[in-house]
């Protein structure tokens, strides 16, 4: 009788460990949420492409944030709201009703014959 109880307790212990092991390791590993970093990368590459197409510097020179925002349509996910700022060192972030605000900075030294450093900031929120 004593032997049977001992065997029963061993069986219960093994079953407990087995069930927990299966529960913990059989659930699929969820990919971490890196959405904001991926969007930041997309935004940065978008500005880089605009620069390579010789558009960004003229927009910065004329302080044309609307043109930059128009060029970003279709490049950033539609679920993301964004606002472009052109400024020097001190920039003011937009007042938005969201706890998830992130941004990318792209520095521009100026254009030929016109040294005038500025940064283009895309503020994004969702």
């Amino acid at each position: 009788m004593k032997g049977i109880m001992k065997v029963l307790e061993v069986v219960i212990t093994v079953l407990m460990v087995l069930v927990v092991y299966l529960l913990v390791f059989s659930s699929p590993v969820l990919p971490p949420d890196f959405e904001s970093i991926n969007i930041q990368l997309k935004a940065f590459y978008s500005l880089q492409v605009l620069d390579q197409n010789n558009q960004l510097r003229s927009y910065v020179l004329t302080d044309n944030t609307t043109a930059i925002e128009t060029n970003l349509v279709g490049l950033l996910p539609s679920s993301v709201n964004y606002q472009v700022e052109i400024c020097g060192v001190a920039c003011t972030a937009p007042q938005v009703n969201s706890t998830r605000l992130f941004s990318v900075n792209y520095i521009v030294a100026g254009s030929i014959g016109n040294y005038n450093p500025n940064q283009v900031i895309i503020y994004m929120w969702s």
Partner: protein, 211 residues
């Protein structure tokens, strides 16, 4: 009775260990992935600053008198901008300029060193064309010195730079082309981008013939 309980207790310990192991493995993977992505993003920012430093010289091409000022100013701009994002940007810039070089005529070679390494240079030695000068240079200050050259033929000279800070000693050599009938601006960059995710750095030279 006690022996039976021991099996259950041992089982519970194993379960705790399994759950703990699982959470450590997952957390480690997340942190590694995030660090990798953020580090890649920092690399893009670093290259942006690096490319714009070279571009500062290109866009100042027709204003050679202000090349040095513009480059030093851009360095400050980049550092102040990155500081707002908790990134330290440190640099040492050495700029060499000489006007059109005539054969067998004394010509002044202007050398400017801009120290933005985040620390004072307790000793800074510059050697060029057989002449050597020693200075000290505070952080975020620039010094300008002049060397005189007189050559009958075009050739390359080496500018040797040795500096000491409170924690390190460093030597750099770079070639200065002395071409008759030409004016040159040569800039040596030692730039460092330091964030919570790591450090990116580069040393490079840009040579511009001005005429």
């Amino acid at each position: 009775m006690m022996k039976g309980q021991m099996f259950i207790i041992a089982g519970l310990i194993v379960i705790v260990a399994i759950v703990g192991l699982k959470s450590i493995l997952s957390l480690q993977k997340i942190v590694e992935n995030q660090r990798h992505l953020v580090s890649g993003f920092n690399g893009l920012e670093f290259n942006n600053v690096r490319n714009e430093m070279v571009r500062t010289l290109q866009i100042s091409y027709n204003d050679s008198a202000n090349m040095t000022n513009n480059l030093n100013d851009f360095d400050s701009f980049a550092r102040d901008t990155l500081n707002t994002k908790s990134v330290d940007f440190n640099s040492l810039l050495v700029e060499v300029f000489y006007p059109t070089l005539q054969a067998s005529t004394n010509t002044q070679v202007n050398v400017t060193v801009y120290n933005s390494l985040g620390t004072d240079l307790t000793s800074l030695n510059l050697s060029f064309n057989g002449t050597s000068n020693t200075f000290s240079l505070k952080n975020r200050y620039a010094l300008r010195t002049v060397f005189t050259i007189n050559t009958a033929v075009s050739n390359n000279q080496t500018l040797a730079l040795n500096y000491t800070t409170s924690s390190t000693s460093q030597s750099e050599n770079f070639a200065v082309p002395l071409n008759l009938g030409a004016s040159y601006f040569i800039a040596f960059f030692d730039i460092r981008y330091i964030s919570n995710e790591g450090q990116q750095s580069d040393k490079f030279t840009t040579t511009l013939q001005l005429n």
